[in-house]
């Protein structure tokens, strides 16, 4: 893929400096600690790492299941989630420092300078406050503007239609218009992101039939036309390889693979643009895993879906993803194209992860040497703190200056 092509691709999801902290006991658990990435339209973005490194938390933050601590999440250019912690910290730091400066000026009886300083401080604080206010507004009302725009669209469309509509059909058109208007006012931008959960047994309500489960999204959206809903449900069932007869059954009547298909159908009926697949195949049997992977691959091709694929099985991630990010303890340590990452892993953690993949091959397995990773031994970050840098083409690694140099050399030698 050439440089120009990749740049032209539309950025669907942009995550900027996302932090998600949880209160735990007296302290805080930094589940996700300042990660940034972009997902382009139509690609599969893989997120791997060991359990507890924050992959799932990232996925859940993106879909707004959590209120994020700080950072921004932009979906199709609209800010859908924003955290204010860092801004607030910055604000209080500024205020403290500013006051110190002003009091120093006052001690020197330099009232002019003090007044100037105060003015500048007030300005920056006002700007910051405005920013925080905006972030809070976006966090709360990101869907409002979208719904309003949708309503305007529908209104314009029908106004035109009504003008050239014959008298006899006006009533039915009005009815249709009302329905569409209601749906549009319920429209949310976050509906365009849907999630497939890990455990197909736990994520389906055992007391709801498959039809209810799949149609729930549409009903919440405000659609009341039963016939339309049924049609949609059957279409989705057909799409994921189930038959319409299954719609009346309960989840316990299905096998693991079929349940996961129901989960996928439930996500697809909302016509999403981004799907977050949180370990969709980990809980499935080997012979079923391939069915689900193939299904997701087909759907992705037919609908041009964008997928954030979270998993810990590296072979599957490699097979399914275009780009892969490796996470370790709340940070992304390496991000590159799938092939590039597996050919030239740079970060020591990625290497240890790759060396641990078991393969169905006894001769290779008996020779395999596992590389172990100990962050205290592998890096010396006492002086130079690491940051996320581009080492090769589209190949990012979390490292400091010295490491970046060695990585670059390694990449050239290969």
């Amino acid at each position: 893929m050439s440089e120009n092509q990749t740049d032209k691709r539309e950025v669907l999801l942009k995550v900027e400096d996302l932090c998600q902290y949880f209160r735990s006991g007296n302290g805080e658990l930094k589940a996700v600690d300042g990660i940034s990435f972009e997902i382009y339209k139509g690609e599969v973005f893989g997120l791997v790492g060991e359990s507890g490194c924050g992959k799932t938390t990232t996925g859940r933050s993106v879909i707004k299941l959590y209120k994020i601590t700080s950072g921004n999440i932009l979906f199709k250019g609209t800010r859908i989630a924003a955290g204010t912690r860092k801004l607030r910290e910055k604000l209080s730091d500024l205020r403290r420092e500013g006051r110190k400066k002003i009091s120093a000026f006052r001690k020197n009886k330099d009232t002019d300078a003090a007044a100037r300083e105060k003015q500048a401080l007030d300005d920056t604080i006002r700007a910051l406050r405005e920013e925080i206010r905006k972030a809070e507004y976006d966090e709360k009302h990101c869907n409002r503007a979208y719904a309003e725009a949708e309503v305007v669209k529908v209104r314009e469309e029908y106004e035109k239609k009504r003008e050239c509509c014959p008298e006899s059909e006006l009533e039915s058109l009005n009815k249709e218009y009302k329905e569409k208007l209601r749906v549009a006012s319920h429209e949310r931008i976050t509906n365009k992101i849907q999630m497939i959960f890990q455990d197909p047994i736990a994520s389906l309500n055992p007391r709801m039939t498959v039809r209810d489960t799949i149609a729930e999204g549409l009903i919440i959206k405000g659609i009341r036309n039963k016939k339309y809903i049924d049609e949609q449900v059957y279409k989705m069932l057909d799409l994921v390889g189930l038959v319409p007869e299954h719609a009346g059954r309960y989840p316990h009547e299905f096998s693991g693979g079929q349940r996961q298909r129901i989960g996928i159908a439930r996500a697809l009926i909302m016509n999403p643009e981004l799907i977050i697949a949180d370990e969709p195949i980990s809980a499935l049997d080997v012979s079923i895993q391939a069915q689900v992977i193939n299904l997701m691959n087909d759907l992705r091709k037919t609908f041009g879906l964008t997928v954030l694929f979270i998993a810990h099985d590296l072979s599957v991630v490699k097979y399914f993803s275009d780009r892969i990010a490796v996470m370790y303890f709340g940070k992304i340590v390496e991000l590159a194209d799938a092939d590039e990452l597996f050919l030239h892993p740079l970060h020591p953690y990625t290497r240890s992860l790759l060396s641990a993949i078991p393969l169905p091959d006894p001769i290779y397995e008996k020779k395999r040497k596992r590389i172990s990773y100990n962050p205290l031994l592998a890096h010396d970050y006492s002086e130079d703190k690491p940051s996320f840098r581009e080492i090769g083409k589209k190949h990012f690694v979390l490292c400091n200056d010295a490491e970046a140099e060695t990585y670059r050399k390694e990449l050239e030698n290969k």
């Binding site: 012979s287 069915q291 072979s315 641990a356 078991p358 006894p362």
Partner: protein, 704 residues
């Protein structure tokens, strides 16, 4: 050829459920050899866990063992009682479960969970040994009495002397073992200290030495002469002075400890006898002398005791052989009755009387117990009762089936759409039960014929020696006490062995304070705590992620090598299997469909299911569409008639839907159950995705 550790023969297990009888395991056979890893691969519901649970004797309550044998150490585990299993479980066969969080008790500290079994097992072992000892003594006395050669009660006197000597011996031995354990601990700690002596700081040296000296001070015993000696005592005195211990002195201490531990273990029974029956002043105090004198002293008594016991043993043997000879004739008669039509009253009473007769044939003082003889009575009776119960139920089942089929036909003829099936009748296989009963009779007849033929070669002298040896071993087992501190020491050693850092600290932590990998290590340590022969790992890495998984696999491999364990490894991940397995059994729908060494399964698979498994998992080079296996596994309430995999198999032939394929032999070690291997079957190539992968792998292997 390696030793067979475990043999599973034609095992069939079903579960009673509300929906009907689920046939989880349908006749599987495999052997486990010493020091090898056998992997059982299959998807969930294929019966792999059910098989291993049957081996451990922890099948679910609704499980029915319909047929088969599991032989361990010459005994059939399926005929074990719960008490027998408690001896076996953990001690001989240990198990590691899938989820470390649910197999550890969350509110009990790690250390307690580790030592619990050690302490309990030790207590029961000592109790059982004492019980065995006295019951054997009792039997001996009874046989001698029955013999009639002990009219004036001489043998009773001998017996009481023997028991008294053993009691004295055991008390001396338990003291000796305590001292020895302390010496061992001191030596081990000292070895550790001397390795790192130069690098240690002064305070840490002193702290470590303190512990060593505490143990060293407690290792005095009269039968460990070195620790009683002047040199050891003065050295210890010198080292314990406030001045820092020098390396040379420590090395000398180490040498002394090793020398002391190398001293031969004395015969405590003889010493006990000497102490109990010598006159005052006759017994010397010096340890070297006491050992020799004791042996001399009890020689005559030993000979007397053996001779007197011999008479009883011979009498008992002759008696039982005579009974066996009669039993053979009777068994042959009975066989004719059992061969014929079974009538409830006559068969049940025949079984009862036969069982009683065979129970009477058992020689009470024999050491080597024949399971065929001892389990015969209960087996035969259970076959009979099951037969008649089954016959009654079969009638009802057939009636139900006929009724429901008729109803279905009626509805169908009225052109109604029906969404239910008629469950096939769950019939008890009466012929199989009958056959089992006949087999049991035949096996016992053969055994008795062999035994009576060998009767002339019976040597009462060696047999008596065995019996006395058995008595002494039981008595000495009661001496080996495991205290809480020694259990803790062992637990910490085990924690170190499974690679847990800071073992001392972890010992007093709760499971939730540990990471997933460490928890699984603890579970492995608990499994190893009783030195088992066989380790069953039921998906031990499924709940863990890749890096931890690799570590746990390495650990299991290491432990297996060091302790020469036989491992049964259950998993659904073929990648994991490649790393660890020597031989692989692929299971599908309750049957083993392919069986071979790891190389054979991965490089020349023969069964379509194995092909499908291999090609459905993406590896790092996979691209293009994955070859998914269509459909889902069959419902085991209604197992399909022919090959269970036929419905999902694109190579299925007509015969696959009609008849079950037998196991076809490919090489000496490689078997597969598929009609494709039949000489008349059309040639089918292994799918390209599999051959591609094998070629790629081989190429890589050459390159390296």
């Amino acid at each position: 050829m390696m030793n067979k550790k475990l043999e599973v023969k034609n095992l069939r297990i079903s579960f009673r459920t509300a929906g009907g009888k689920v046939q989880a395991v349908r006749g599987i056979n495999f052997d486990l050899y010493e020091g090898e890893t056998l992997a059982i691969v299959g998807e969930s519901g294929s019966g792999k866990s059910v098989t291993t649970r049957a081996i451990m004797g922890i099948s679910a309550l609704n499980a029915i063992t319909e047929n088969g044998e599991i032989f361990y150490d010459g005994k059939d585990l399926l005929k074990f009682s719960e008490e027998d299993f408690q001896e076996l479980r953990g001690n001989k066969i240990a198990m590691i479960f899938q989820d470390p969080m649910s197999s550890l008790n969350p509110i009990v500290k790690v250390g307690k969970q580790l030592t619990e079994a050690m302490l309990l097992k030790n207590r029961t072992r000592r109790k059982n040994s004492r019980k065995d000892f006295y019951s054997m003594i009792k039997k001996l006395r009874e046989t001698v009495k029955a013999d009639g050669s002990d009219e004036n009660g001489e043998y009773a006197k001998l017996i009481s002397q023997f028991v008294k000597a053993e009691k004295m011996g055991v008390s001396a031995e338990s003291k000796y073992l305590y001292a020895r354990k302390n010496a061992e601990e001191a030596a081990e700690r000292l070895n550790g200290l001397l390795v790192t002596y130069q690098k240690e700081s002064e305070p840490s040296r002193r702290a470590k030495c303190g512990g060593i000296f505490r143990y060293a001070a407690k290792c005095e015993d009269e039968f460990l002469p070195v620790f009683e000696g002047e040199e050891f005592k003065t050295l210890l005195q010198k080292l314990r002075s406030p001045a820092a211990p020098g390396e040379a002195d420590l090395q000398r201490l180490q040498a002394l400890l090793h020398e002391g531990l190398a001293a031969p273990v004395p015969d405590f029974y003889a010493i006990g006898y000497l102490r109990a029956f010598s006159k005052a002043g006759e017994a010397p105090q010096e340890p070297d002398k006491i050992i020799n004198t004791a042996r001399e002293f009890c020689k005559t008594f030993d000979a007397d005791f053996a001779k007197a016991s011999e008479r009883g043993v011979l009498y008992s043997f002759r008696n039982s052989t005579q009974k066996k000879e009669q039993a053979i004739a009777h068994l042959k008669d009975m066989r004719k009755i059992f061969e014929g039509e079974w009538q409830s009253d006559s068969i049940l009473s025949a079984a009862k009387s036969l069982a009683k007769e065979i129970d009477a044939c058992i020689d009470p003082v024999e050491i080597r117990k024949e399971s065929a003889e001892r389990t015969f009575g209960s087996c035969l009776r259970s076959y009979c009762t099951r037969y008649f119960k089954g016959a009654r139920k079969n009638k009802k089942e057939n009636a139900r089936y006929a009724k429901q089929t008729a109803k279905r036909e009626r509805l169908l003829s009225k052109n109604k759409s029906i969404d239910w099936k008629v469950a096939p009748p769950a019939l008890t296989d009466l012929d199989a039960l009958k056959q089992s009963a006949l087999t049991a009779i035949d096996a016992l007849t053969a055994l008795y014929e062999r035994k009576t033929a060998d009767a002339s070669r019976f040597d009462p002298k060696t047999e008596t020696e065995h019996i006395i040896g058995y008595l002494k071993a039981r008595a000495s087992e009661t001496a080996a006490k495991v205290s809480k501190t020694s259990a803790k020491r062992r637990a910490i050693r085990l924690l170190n062995e499974v690679g847990i850092p800071d073992a001392e600290k972890r010992y007093s932590q709760y499971p939730f304070q540990l990471s997933g990998g460490q928890r699984q290590r603890i579970v492995i340590a608990i499994a190893l705590s009783a030195d088992p022969d066989i380790l069953i790992c039921d998906e031990p890495t499924t709940a863990l992620d890749v890096t931890i998984q690799a570590q746990i696999l390495e650990l299991i491999n290491k432990v297996k090598r060091e302790r020469k364990l036989s491992v049964i490894f259950i998993t659904h991940d073929l990648g994991v299997v490649a790393n660890i397995a020597d031989r692989i059994a692929v299971m599908y729908a309750g049957k083993i469909v392919e069986y071979g060494t790891a190389e054979e399964i991965f490089y020349s698979p023969a069964h379509p299911y194995t092909w499908a498994l291999l090609s459905s998992v993406p590896d790092l080079e996979s691209s293009g569409r994955l070859e998914a296996i269509p459909g889902t596994p069959p419902n085991m309430i209604y197992p399909p008639e022919g090959d269970a995999f036929a419905e999902r198999n694109k190579y299925a032939m007509e015969i696959d839907f009609k008849r079950e394929p037998p196991m076809f032999r490919i090489t000496e070690t490689h078997y597969a159950a598929t009609w494709l291997l039949h000489p008349m079957a059309p040639k089918v190539e292994i799918p390209a995705s599999v051959t591609d992968r094998i070629r790629r792998i081989k190429k890589e292997a050459e390159n390296e």
